[in-house]
């Protein structure tokens, strides 16, 4: 069934607004620890998740909130979990990296690469108990260097498991540019394990949706896994407070305190040749810029999908108002004290 752009946009917007609220609450100090948002990858999440139904499973990485929302998770209990409340989804035990919804067969992990084996297991259960149902593994491009994930690609082929491996390629692993640490091309890598693989522009949710639709029958018919590579950008950087992104947004505040020890260190007696040192310093100073120019190189997936809906501005305005109101209500309810 071809994707409904309205539905896709609806979920992208809901996720974006929800995560913006999460960011606000985090900045206000109401959420502890790290905070990895999925802002910027909504095109991939929505393009895939809107094809899932009863009995399909999802193995999520550290950016699990958008797929869960789009899959129909209760946003209030999700937000309460993120806030660490005992009336949250996981009674405050999990937090945003460890979200679990048995009814939706959906589980997250903060261990990079772990979604591969987890999805393989979900798919094994589908194969035995729910033929035709699939499991999706979401992960970043840098996770493609993690052994457990690589093994799971092979396992899924060997056992013909219905796993859709979805690689969200934002080009970065925290502060490391992924191509610098990755041999070959990821699409070829997936294919070499013996599964069909396709790539798609992840900022184009409708394209992701179409590609997902093209791949899923292979899985549902019991022919084994497939791989989807989708480019994206993480608009809020690796995590909130991301030093690289902050360095671009507030260069003086971030770079100045680094500068003195860095210069002192670069100029110390004993060390690499001058050329190597200056290369290192230049690299540090430009890495932030590279990260941000990469970010600017891709459109915001929301804008892009929204454009497809401009033909019906009234409906669009209505939809946006509704979603915004819903998210506001979710936040209000979530923040209420429970008796």
């Amino acid at each position: 069934m071809p994707a409904d752009p309205w539905l896709i946009y609806r979920w992208m917007l809901a996720s974006r607004l929800f995560e913006q609220e999460v960011a606000r609450l985090w900045h206000a100090g109401l959420v502890s620890g790290e905070m990895h948002l999925g802002t910027g990858e909504e095109g991939i999440d929505a393009g895939v998740v809107t094809h899932l139904g009863e009995g399909d499973a999802m193995a999520l990485d550290h950016r699990g909130t958008p797929p869960l929302l789009m899959r129909g998770a209760n946003p209030v209990s999700l937000l309460r979990e993120i806030l660490g409340r005992e009336d949250g989804l996981c009674r405050g035990r999990g937090g945003h990296m460890h979200l679990f919804i048995p009814e939706l067969l959906s589980a997250s992990s903060g261990i990079v690469g772990a979604s591969g084996p987890m999805a393989a297991g979900f798919a094994l259960a589908s194969q035995q108990l729910r033929p035709g149902r699939v499991a999706v593994a979401f992960f970043g491009e840098a996770a493609m260097n993690e052994g457990a994930l690589l093994e799971s690609l092979n396992l899924a082929v060997a056992w013909r498991l219905p796993v859709l491996f979805v690689c969200k390629d934002n080009g970065w692993s925290i502060t490391t540019h992924s191509p610098s640490m990755t041999g070959g091309a990821l699409l070829a890598r997936a294919r070499a394990f013996g599964m069909p693989a396709a790539d798609v522009d992840g900022t184009d949710a409708l394209a992701v949706s179409a590609m997902t639709e093209a791949l899923l029958p292979h899985l549902r018919q019991g022919n084994g896994p497939a791989f989807l590579l989708a480019r994206c950008v993480h608009l809020d950087g690796h995590f909130l407070g991301d030093a690289l992104l902050e360095a671009v947004r507030r260069p003086l505040q971030v770079l100045a305190p680094m500068a003195i020890p860095l210069a002192r260190s670069a100029l110390s007696r004993h060390g690499a040749r001058f050329r190597d040192r200056s290369h290192a310093v230049t690299d540090l100073l430009t890495r932030a810029g590279r990260a941000s120019s990469a970010a600017r190189s891709l459109p915001d997936p929301l804008d892009r999908t929204r454009r497809a809906l401009l033909g019906d501005p009234d409906r669009l305005r209505m939809l946006e108002a509704t979603v915004a109101a819903e998210v506001r209500a979710v936040v209000d309810v979530a923040l209420e004290e429970t008796p």
Partner: protein, 337 residues
């Protein structure tokens, strides 16, 4: 009289449940040959060979368990858990806590462990204390076919992850493949009462966290598990000849640990010797010491365990692993202090 071997008892317990519970799957490297009786009966869908990808298939076992199956996943040897232990430590063991109690991973990880057949330090480790350090999973170590079957039945009804360790000196198929290799005339310290039991086996479950007092004695308590239980019994026999009455506890499960039984028995004797084939430090023997102190006991204490990397050469291996001589020396020490 016909008898049942240790591994066979476990396989039979699994077959018993597989026959009635279609959610049980067995997978791991070479299981179609290793568990050929299960394979012949339940077929290639439910008894699956796996690639040498322990991290992926142990991780998949967690996912499968979460999604409605009850996998019995085999890792050939405890030593190889090191390449896959994330699936246990950060996933299986944490799921119930992380999900606020809403989700569990009922799975059994079946693993051969232990030494005594000269296979070197990467193939003879026990690691049960290491595994039990992580909260959230059960770790059981039977010392005989009856307990092995009983613990496996419990494992197959348990609602969380269970690591089921079978000692290679007890499981004849492992000893045959890895130690004997079809050769005759080789000697191994296989405890007969650990390796075989009278047929038919009792059909009961053995609860986790319930130690068994396999010999009572008033002047000293030996605490052990797996093959060590038989060494402890041997030492107790020898001590009896000197008029010393030593009791022996077979822990059977490491986690949960039967603190009550330990405290009760050691409370009576005031002297305890732990016989633990796992590494000496930061493991089971220490935990037992802490449990006793926490309970307000002040026992004489000694332990016999594996101190360093297990050497390959048989004579070196013998003195590196617990053995009846070492156990006897430790007993004399706590008796004389």
């Amino acid at each position: 009289m016909s008898s049942v071997g240790f591994a066979e008892a476990i396989d039979d317990a699994i077959a018993e449940r597989m026959a009635v519970d279609p959610a049980i799957l067995v997978f791991g490297e070479d299981v179609q040959l290793l568990r050929r009786n299960l394979y012949a009966r339940f077929g290639a869908e439910r008894v699956r060979n796996a690639p040498i990808s322990e991290a992926a298939f142990l991780g998949a076992a967690v996912g499968a368990a979460m999604a409605g199956l009850r996998p019995v996943v085999e890792i050939m040897m405890a030593d190889f858990l090191t390449v896959a232990v994330d699936a246990l430590v950060n996933h299986a063991a944490k799921l119930a806590d992380f999900s606020g109690g809403s989700w569990g991973a009922p799975m059994v990880v079946r693993v051969a462990c232990g030494g005594g057949y000269g296979d070197g330090g990467q193939h003879e480790q026990s690691l049960w204390g290491w595994l039990a350090h992580i909260p959230g999973m059960a770790v059981v170590v039977p010392s005989n076919p009856v307990d092995a079957a009983g613990l496996m039945r419990t494992a197959l009804a348990h609602d969380g992850p269970v690591v089921f360790l079978e000692h290679k000196l007890l499981a004849d198929n492992w000893l045959e493949a890895l130690g004997r290799g079809g050769r005759s005339g080789l000697e191994f310290d296989v405890p007969p009462a650990g390796a075989r039991a009278a047929h038919p086996l009792p059909a009961n479950r053995v609860a986790f966290g319930r130690a068994s007092v396999v010999r009572s004695g008033g002047s000293l308590t030996l605490v052990s598990l797996g093959v060590g239980v038989h060494q402890a019994l041997e030492a107790a026999e020898a001590l009896a000849e000197d008029g010393i009455s030593a009791g022996v506890i077979d822990l059977r499960s490491v986690s949960p640990l039967d603190r009550g039984c330990l405290v009760e028995q050691v409370g009576q004797t005031g002297r305890v010797v732990v016989v633990d084939e796992d590494y000496l430090r930061f493991g089971l023997s220490g935990e037992i010491a802490a449990c006793l102190l926490e309970a307000g006991l002040r026992p004489r204490f000694a332990r016999v365990a594996t101190e360093g990397t297990i050497p390959f050469a048989r004579h070196l291996e013998r003195s590196a692993l617990p053995n009846p001589d070492r156990v006897m020396r430790a007993c004399r020490q706590v008796l004389s202090s």
